[in-house]
Symmetry: C2
Subunit: 239 residues, 2 copies
């Protein structure tokens, strides 16, 4: 492996190389990686160094390892990991898996806020998807998802949009969301939101502005979700 002039520990260089290969599509979600020894030989480092990089990637949910089988690129489209970023729960703490209906898909220019959140400078075309999430046939979350067309070409023409957009991003665009940042506000539902969520006027709702980050560190999606927290809570554990 080429050693950069600016010093980075070997195991971090191995880490970078693996991330690069996943980002380039050389290894795709669900693929198995070579064994520790094979990878170490190929990159010219020791098995222990490779292991350290691999374990770091496991800690970040980018890889999964199973003793006796091998090392795999995480499939974020698994039921379990699909809802890793979905933080709404019933008050008793039970997970909620909602249904999703697409309400509308529009293509337009990004607003100033969207440009800033998505770091857009040149191509300002974005897709706005409005979605209604329902649970037991009752509307629970109304959200607008903003995607740069440059990142997701043709996503506005997509006919079958799955329950989880993250699965679509991964399968069709090779984009793996590995981190999200949520900013939560309490607001009064406006007319559109009350109507969609079937709430009385002036209901308080939780507004969640989310930035989603790809494996390469770019913010590739920004969304605003409104949730009535009468029957649900946003639950998060910080360590």
């Amino acid at each position: 492996m080429t050693v950069s002039t600016k010093y980075r520990p070997l195991y971090q260089q191995v880490y970078d190389e693996i991330v690069k290969r996943i980002g380039d599509g050389y290894w795709k979600a669900g693929d198995s990686l070579p064994s520790e020894f094979a990878l170490a030989d190929e990159l010219g480092v020791s098995q222990g160094t490779t292991r350290k990089a691999l374990n770091q990637l496991v800690a970040e949910n980018i890889l999964r390892r199973r003793q006796g089988k091998g090392t795999y690129v995480s499939e974020h489209s698994n039921e379990s990991s699909l809802y890793r970023f979905f933080r709404y729960r019933e008050p008793e703490g039970d997970a909620v898996i909602p249904e999703t209906q697409i309400q509308s898909v529009k293509t337009r220019q990004a607003t100033a806020k969207e440009q800033s959140k998505l770091n857009l400078s040149e191509n300002l075309n974005v897709v706005e998807m409005a979605r209604l999430r329902t649970f037991k046939d009752k509307p629970v979350i109304y959200e607008k998802v903003i995607q740069p067309l440059a990142v997701f070409p043709g996503i506005d023409q997509e006919l079958e949009i799955p329950n989880s957009l993250y699965a679509l991003y991964q399968e069709k665009y090779g984009i793996s969301i590995v981190e999200v940042t949520d900013e939560l506000h309490a607001v009064i539902a406006d007319h559109e939101v009350s109507e969609q969520l079937n709430l009385p006027e002036n209901s308080p709702v939780l507004m969640n502005e989310r930035s989603s980050t790809n494996i390469d560190g770019r913010v590739v999606e920004w969304s605003v979700a409104y949730c009535c927290t009468k029957n649900f809570v946003y639950s998060v554990t910080i360590k």
Copy 2:
């Protein structure tokens, strides 16, 4: 080191032993631990095994290490780590460090909800502290903190309550909060909350119900905080 009948990897046994010593007060917040080799010798394992346990504890914010100096028990009363669990930010993303005023301290029996959240079965005496957090002389968060008297004996007689309760827990009671779980709701401020936060009637506020967990895994504090998110957001990153 004694090896338990039920197999646990050596490095996890080392991990457990270190946690136990911190929990027992053998090493206190800010203390330095023996070097990797000294600890390895004492416990009868290799330096690499000790290192693995130590690094895991660093990942969990229980220890801190500095090259050339040593390994230290985290002081959660550091400015930096004190606010690790404080998730309110200005909309631009700047951290907010508020002032705190104690409004009242009461001792009473735990409610059913508090018993459940704090896993109380025998001694039901709890202390309720009402606190108002202000930023730039404006009230921003009103909260009620519930502490079991069995865990914090005499805390209701405390004269000097610092800005961060977690620092008090650590210094006086040897309790280190290592994990919190927040449940967020959007609600309409009631009379008490609007008055404390100086808000008009019917303002939406973010309600945060928090369970705080000690190093030994027990929930030792439960609180409810109300925040007006007009000028602040609750911000969290999930990986």
